[in-house]
Point group: C2
Chain length 190, copies 2
């Protein structure tokens, strides 16, 4: 039913067919239209989301009312506002579909039940979270180390799929650049 | 033996005295002098580190040979270069004691064995990693959103202990400011 999620879990933990059915019982599939919101500012982030197929972006609206994208999630990635998810605080973020997407959602209380029934999934989520920490460490290093042009080149070389699927103005927002500057860089490095 | 670590684990997972002994069997205590390195650029990061007592900083050396601090860890925090830890790649970071510190180190293979013997610790590490992702998300948002002066004020208000314990030039490096500017801000906001 959810081949990408199940394949990813099996990469880290042994689960049999019966356990796959247990997982299916707990998770919820959401079909999002392009630009549909999964999370809005002011709501608590009650679930963690897995992109079975599609593409999401996470952003906040700054003091000048400008959308600032802090994360993307493509097929096979988890995304959530983890502070809000942990503490039930209202989120300062939006999570929105960039394209038509199939999203697996696991509510906080449901996740607790799932982990009680299949404790071996603690290991899967521990490894996934560890990878997310590694990715953030790299992101922070690149933000500190690289000029904006180098950051764009790094990003477009490391993630060519993004540059294909994600509108240019969103990549600009993620990298802290103006869309005009990204457009220039794109021409220059073609 | 390691009251901070054991107390933290017990906050999230039930462990009894026998299991505490198992944990003690697997972990290693390192007594670091001020400025002693736990990790050096070019070495793989073979362990994750818990600050039982003390203070660590993680930094890399940029193209201009300047130290850029990306993380601190005070009592009760875990720190590692997770990319290097996961993939065994040479690290681009240093992890160094800012003051005399007692550090608990768990080597990668030892962690695997510990988690096999006490699988309930998967849950503890999953929760700790989830909190680390939340902290990185906040860090990235603040780097995007705040002016450097606001970032300094946020940091010194949220973490007054750091401003007491960590030399001013290190806080400046972490915030991407010059030491002179931090000194000015400090006077201005006294």
């Amino acid at each position: 039913m959810y081949p990408n999620l199940i394949r990813q879990i099996k990469r880290y933990v042994a689960i049999d067919d019966r356990e796959v059915l247990v997982i299916n019982k707990y998770i919820k599939l959401l079909n999002l239209k392009k630009k549909e919101d999964l999370l809005k500012e002011g709501q608590p982030c009650r679930a963690i989301y897995f992109v079975e197929k599609g593409c999401l972006r996470m952003f906040f609206i700054d003091k000048k009312s400008v959308e600032q994208i802090t994360q993307f999630a493509l097929d096979g990635w988890w995304i959530a506002d983890y502070f809000s998810f942990i503490d039930n605080n209202p989120s300062e973020y939006y999570i929105q579909a960039i394209e038509k997407s199939e999203i697996i959602s696991i509510d906080k209380l449901v996740l607790d039940d799932l982990l009680k029934e299949l404790p071996q999934l603690e290991r899967y989520f521990r490894i996934i979270m560890q990878k997310a920490v590694a990715a953030s460490q790299l992101r922070i290093k690149l933000m500190t180390e690289l000029t904006k042009e180098e950051f764009y080149l790094h990003f477009s070389t490391s993630f060519p799929e993004f540059v294909q699927r994600v509108p240019q103005y969103m990549i600009a927002s993620y990298l802290g650049l103006t869309p005009e500057y990204v457009s220039e860089l794109r021409k220059k490095n073609r």
